[in-house]
Symmetry: C2
Subunit: 268 residues, 2 copies
Amino acid sequence: MESNAPIGVFDSGVGGLTVVREIMRQIPGEEIIYFGDTARLPYGSKSKETIIGFSRQIVKFLRTKEVKAIVIACNTASAFALETISQENEIPVVGVVGPGAKVAVEATKNGKIGVIGTFGTVNSNIYTQYIRDINADIQVFSKACPLFVPLVEEGWLYDPVTIEVAERYFSELKSYGIDTMVLGCTHYPLLRHTLQKVIGEEVTLVNPAYETAISLKRVLQENNALRKDALPEHQFYVSDGAERFQSFANTILPCRVIETTDINIEKY
Amino acid sequence: MESNAPIGVFDSGVGGLTVVREIMRQIPGEEIIYFGDTARLPYGSKSKETIIGFSRQIVKFLRTKEVKAIVIACNTASAFALETISQENEIPVVGVVGPGAKVAVEATKNGKIGVIGTFGTVNSNIYTQYIRDINADIQVFSKACPLFVPLVEEGWLYDPVTIEVAERYFSELKSYGIDTMVLGCTHYPLLRHTLQKVIGEEVTLVNPAYETAISLKRVLQENNALRKDALPEHQFYVSDGAERFQSFANTILPCRVIETTDINIEKY
């Protein structure tokens, strides 16, 4: 593994930038090639076959940049495509679900974990499988929350409408007495304050992005592949709307994105 | 023009079925080939270039079925791609915006029309252009309502949350004293009752689907191309999730859809 090579990170759009932010904080020397599939987002309501197809095209594109590892910074794509992408590539592939599940298991005291995400992630039952592989005694309660992503995109982060929607979505989860809740979609950390208020201050919110960056660091260390050069030059690519992506990226990343390139992902 | 040939209709997903329903009612002998781009929906937040690219692929697919005319049953695709698709094809191409604008102009008494739709449709200003081409004295007030489509998909058609969102979106439109409002997205007729309640009973809601079917009928008559065979055999295609599409189609169409086929639209 070429230690100065970049890391490929992808998501359906901007959500994966919450993972990039954590990578930049925890292993700031690493160079990132990011791809956001803005022409075909969202992924959360689409089928496993379609998401695997999209992910294969993206990985093919990222590999033209000679990346040393790939991070699937999207819960739906991690749920549906991690296994296939790992099998088809000899470089390490890290998803967000495994790291998120691990932290949730460590955090729960009463053994009752809630998971919120898209239809795809929730119906795949992937978090339940990962969590119960670690500890089969834990009870997992899941709820698909399809309105959260459009609410984030509308910018209604602290809005009474968002609170009302969250109350509707969480009423059943609350009745089960969960003490930990996984934010199983990379957009959700942006709603964190509102979600915490609605689910209750006593519930621990788990953001898989943080632990994903730690997992990535560990994998690179194991392969003796941490970057030695200084001053990484990150690159950002999208399949649609480069300008809009970039202005959003600049609100959440600790570095300044000065160029985003539109590419035709369907050619890969 | 081969009068027994089918009509190609496309949309980003299920919304265009509200147009198909009107075509089936008004020219029930016609055979329809429908394509819903469920793998890449929604279209409303994506760029003009991307939507033109998607539309070209779909038209290429529809033309393999030897369609005699094409209906762009999506407001965003009509706004962005109607001109290009018309220029590139020798068969008639009908969009939903022109017919919708025409009815709105006929309906208004005070010359103040509201238009609601996706970001793409509203920012394109296409309804304003069409309306003012007919009557330059009319004032047009537009508002993008990006949460309505996910609310329809969640099934919250008569929900307090939907009412609250509509009140937020409509407060400015109401202050202008509009007497007519165009439902500029094919999903919105499904919210019709809730939207009527919020905007006020005195405001006429315009559903472009109805007038689009009339336009199509007129074009076919002018070309002496109304179908002569009885018993049309409609065909339904999608780029993802055929089963889910079909169950939705069966809730809104007057005929029973017994088969929906998944195709890879990126190959076209």
